[in-house]
Every structure is written in structure tokens, then in C-alpha cells.
């Protein structure tokens, strides 16, 4: 217990860093992912190609390598970012590829009749996607998208390797100073992640039941 009182500041700050990292990269991933998914079903070939290339590249690259390119690569094109911003960009861009795949599979799961009806009513590509297909796609996509974001929350831990003082990074730091309380340190970190992931999983479940459509 004494350990918690002594290190409450470190743990709280680290937890808030992880939370902030999760929220910011989540927003980036969602926006970029939806744009990429839209590009992949668009009538313009170069956009389709670009989105496919993006998704295939990022899905097959380790997140650690993405971090490398953001932290050490961006300075080579004269763009220097802080470690935290770099972490948001890396996690966000990496997760966007998975979001795009999930949303695309959702778009594919909407029955063709819906899109055909939208077309028959005279809606354009943008309109039929925005008004008819995407709202339905998002419903089927809630569970896979949920697991993408939960995995992303856990993936933010990799930022520990790149000088971001988030939750995992407290582990090696506190272990040296608190040899007697090792399991407590570990427990504190694990609980920190659970505070983020368990409510997320619960929210996804609730949301899934609320928006579910019977087919």
C-alpha cells in the first residue's frame, strides 16, 4: 500500500499518457481508416490503388518498424516531431490500415440491393455511401472495429520503447527502485490497462446490442 502512495504520481501520469495516446491515435485511426475504406471502393483507380497499397504495407509491417520510420525517418524529410506526437502518428497510421479493412468488410456485407436501390433513387456515389451504405456498414462493423481499438489500446505500450512515459515504461523504471514490491508494480500496470480495455469491451458489447439489425 505504501508503494501506491509513494508512486501514485508516476503511475497516474503514466496512465493518463496511455489514455491520451489511446484517444488521440484512435481518432486519427478512425478518420484515416474511413477515408481509406472509401478510397478502396471509389470509382477512381489511382485512389483505389493508393489505399490498397497503404493497407497492405501497414498491415504487414511491425508497429515497431512504423515507430522507427516516424521517429527516425521523418527528420530525413525535415519534419521533426516530439516522441509523443510521433507515437500518436505511428499508432494512428498503423491502426488506420486495420480500421480500413474492417470498414471495407462492413461495406461489403451490406446487401447489394441497398446500394442498387440508392442508385435507382438517383443518389450519387458519395450520397449512397454516406446516406445508405456506411450507416449500415458501421452497425455490422462494431464488433471487429471494437477489437481493433482494444488491440490498439494495448499496442500503445510499444511507445515505451521510444521515450514516451506511458504505462508500460513505468515497469522497468519502478522495478529497479522497488525491488520488494515487484508484483505490486506489475499488478498496478496490468490494472491500468484493464481500466482502459475492460470498459471498452463492455461498451462495444452494449453498442453492438443497441445498433444490431436483424437480417
Amino acid at each position: 500500500m505504501q508503494f501506491f502512495i509513494d508512486n501514485f504520481d508516476i503511475l497516474r501520469d503514466a496512465f493518463l499518457q496511455t489514455l491520451l495516446l489511446t484517444v488521440l491515435s484512435g481518432v486519427l485511426a478512425l478518420v484515416l481508416g474511413v477515408v481509406l475504406a472509401t478510397m478502396r471502393v471509389s470509382p477512381i483507380p489511382p485512389l483505389r490503388g493508393l489505399a490498397t497499397f497503404y493497407v497492405e504495407t501497414f498491415r504487414n509491417t511491425p508497429l515497431t518498424v512504423v515507430f522507427f520510420f516516424v521517429i527516425f525517418g521523418l527528420p530525413q524529410i525535415d519534419t521533426v516531431v516530439s516522441f509523443f506526437t510521433g507515437a500518436v502518428i505511428a499508432v494512428g497510421m498503423y491502426t488506420a490500415a486495420f480500421v480500413a479493412e474492417a470498414v471495407r468488410s462492413g461495406i461489403n456485407s451490406v446487401s447489394p440491393g441497398q446500394a442498387e436501390a440508392a442508385r435507382a433513387l438517383g443518389l450519387g456515389f458519395g450520397q449512397s455511401l454516406r446516406e445508405v451504405v456506411l450507416p449500415q456498414a458501421f452497425r455490422t462493423v462494431v464488433p471487429p472495429l471494437g477489437s481493433v481499438f482494444i488491440a490498439m489500446a494495448k499496442n500503445t505500450s510499444i511507445a515505451a520503447g521510444f521515450s514516451v512515459s506511458e504505462l508500460s515504461s513505468t515497469l522497468p523504471r519502478l522495478v529497479n527502485a522497488n525491488a520488494g514490491d515487484l508484483l505490486v508494480v506489475l499488478l498496478a500496470v496490468v490494472i491500468g490497462y484493464m481500466i482502459i480495455t475492460v470498459p471498452m469491451a463492455y461498451a462495444v458489447n452494449r453498442l453492438e446490442r443497441r445498433v444490431a439489425i436483424l437480417r
Binding site: V41, S42, P43, I44, P46, L47, L50, E56, R59, N60, T61, P62, L63, T64, V65, F68, F69, F72, G73, Q76, I77, D78, F98, E101, A102, I107, S109, S111, P112, A115, R119, G124, L129, P143, P144, G146, S147, V148, I150, A151, K154, N155, S157, I158, A160, G161, S168, L171, P172, V175, L182, L183, L186, V190, Y193, M194, T197, V198, A201, N205
Partner: protein, 297 residues
């Protein structure tokens, strides 16, 4: 639904619009590429001499990256085999009729699915030595990957076993098979076959996760790349950084794209052979609470 449903077959006007869109799209992509290339060139990064180091045996770079790749594949192979074996056992355990087996197994699976892999590895590498066993970086990374992936694979196998038609199980029991025989002779072989594409896709995830060895100092591909860069920077100044990282990154992408393609191929084959047998695969049941990583992330 494929793309063409979202837009009509283009008429002359639409074709013109698409042509304009294509031109603008191409221009945008080219502008982005040009911007990056100009910046890189401004920093002298496109100098062929700088890239030659990746292929020049005299520099020792290709050998070092090759050896590191072998170490990456070693730890991935050990972890994949161990995780598959343990994953099958856990999946069977979670489906057990006995509560005293089912509950602890479920707890283990959900625990390792819920916490980040890096925390598992940190725990093995930094915390465990205080209680006795001093793990090498290889052992900590391998064991961490095994523990995490066995939980993920257990869920994959469980979904596979549950997706086998109920009649198979009933028929096996009707033939007088024991529970263990039903599982090993009837359910598991069909489940494995059905889940093979997902299993292969999981290799990609595992291979990507070996790069976490970088953080605890296991000399896999990425760590080797980093130390090569540090060594070269020390001797020649900061001129080979980007080249080495791009080289290492491309190796990952090449191998993973290859494995992903194999997974797609296997999926296509299993699907067509299932069709040939006149069977339709039922939808896989989803896990009750999803704190895990089922998306290859």
C-alpha cells in the same frame, strides 16, 4: 458487394469526370511522392552510394541483417510451435465438461488476451529474475510470444471446434467413441482444417511481434538494424540511417506479404473444397467478451 454496385456503368459525362478524378488523383500521389523525394534528395538520401551499403558484402551489413533475420525467424518458429500446441490444449480445456478445468483455463486465456504483450515480456524479463529464474532476452521474448499467442490461438481453435457441425459430434458418440476420441479424431482435424487460413495469418502477427525484442535488447532484425546504424553513425556520421531501416522494414514486409498470400491461397482452396463437398461453413460464433486481438493487429 463489389465496387461497381456503388456507381452505374459510367456514361460519357461520368467517364470524363472519372478521367478528371484519375488525373487529379495521379497528380496528388505524384506530388506527394515528389515532395518526399525532393526532401530526401535535398538531404542527400538518394545517393546510390548510400544505398549500395545494403548489398555490399564488404561492409558486413548484408551478413549482419541476414544473421539477425535468422534470429528473428528462430524465436518466431519456437514461439509459433509452442503456442500452437498449448493453444490446442487450452482450447480443449476451455470446452471441457469439468468446471475445475474450464474455469482456470478460461481465466488464463482471458488474462493473457487482456494485457499488452510488451507487459508480459517486461514481466518475464524484469520482474521474474527477482523470484529466481534469470531469463535471457531470447527466452523472455520467446516465452512472452508463446504465452500471448497461445491465448489467441486457443480462441481460434475453440471457434473452429464450435463451428464443426453438431451432427459430426453426435455421430461420433453414436459410434461409441470416447470424449477424447471424439475430440482428437473427429472435431480437432476438421477444426484445424477450417481454421488453417487464420492460423497462417497469426504467423504474420507473431512475426511482427518479434520486433518487440528490440525493446528488451534481443538482437533480432530491428535491434540489429539499430545497432548497425549506431555503429555506422559513429564511424561515418549520420548518413546510412534511413537506408538500413528501409532495408530492415522491406525484409519484414516481403516475408509477411508472402505469408499473407499463402493464407489467402489456403483460404481459397479450403473454401472451394468445402463447396465441392456440398457443405457450407456456418458462421463462426463470436467470443462472449472481446478483450483480445482477433484482427491481426
Amino acid at each position: 458487394m463489389s465496387a461497381p454496385v456503388l456507381f452505374d456503368l459510367p456514361g460519357p459525362k461520368a467517364r470524363a469526370r472519372i478521367r478528371i478524378g484519375t488525373a487529379v488523383g495521379v497528380l496528388l500521389v505524384l506530388a506527394l511522392v515528389a515532395f518526399v523525394l525532393v526532401r530526401l534528395n535535398g538531404n542527400g538520401q538518394l545517393d546510390p552510394a548510400r544505398w549500395a551499403i545494403l548489398f555490399d558484402p564488404n561492409s558486413g551489413v548484408p551478413q549482419a541483417l541476414g544473421e539477425a533475420l535468422v534470429r528473428t525467424l528462430q524465436v518466431a518458429a519456437v514461439a509459433m510451435v509452442a503456442a500452437t500446441v498449448l493453444g490446442v490444449l487450452l482450447a480443449v480445456g476451455r470446452l471441457s465438461d469439468h468446471r475445475w478445468v474450464r474455469i482456470p483455463v478460461t481465466t488464463v486465456i482471458e488474462f493473457f488476451r487482456a494485457i499488452p504483450l510488451l507487459v508480459v515480456i517486461f514481466a518475464l524479463y524484469f520482474v521474474l529474475p527477482a523470484f529466481g529464474p534469470d531469463l535471457s532476452a531470447f527466452a523472455a521474448l520467446g516465452l512472452g510470444l508463446t504465452l500471448y499467442n497461445m491465448a489467441v490461438l486457443a480462441e481460434i481453435f475453440r471457434a473452429g471446434i464450435l463451428s464443426v457441425d453438431k451432427g459430426q459430434r453426435e455421430a461420433a458418440f453414436a459410434l461409441g467413441m470416447r470424449k477424447s476420441q471424439v475430440m482428437t479424431l473427429v472435431l480437432l482435424p476438421q477444426a484445424t482444417r477450417r481454421m488453417l487460413p487464420v492460423l497462417i495469418a497469426q504467423i504474420v502477427v507473431l512475426l511482427k511481434d518479434t520486433s518487440l525484442g528490440f525493446i528488451i535488447g534481443y538482437f533480432e532484425l530491428l535491434r540489429q538494424a539499430r545497432s548497425l546504424v549506431e555503429f555506422l553513425n559513429f564511424n561515418f556520421g549520420n548518413i546510412y540511417t534511413l537506408q538500413i531501416y528501409v532495408g530492415a522494414g522491406l525484409v519484414y514486409i516481403l516475408i509477411n506479404v508472402l505469408i499473407s498470400q499463402v493464407a489467402k491461397l489456403v483460404e481459397k482452396r479450403t473454401r472451394s473444397s468445402a463447396k465441392a463437398a456440398g457443405a457450407t461453413a456456418p458462421a463462426l460464433p463470436t467470443a462472449p467478451i472481446n478483450t483480445g486481438n482477433n484482427s491481426g493487429l
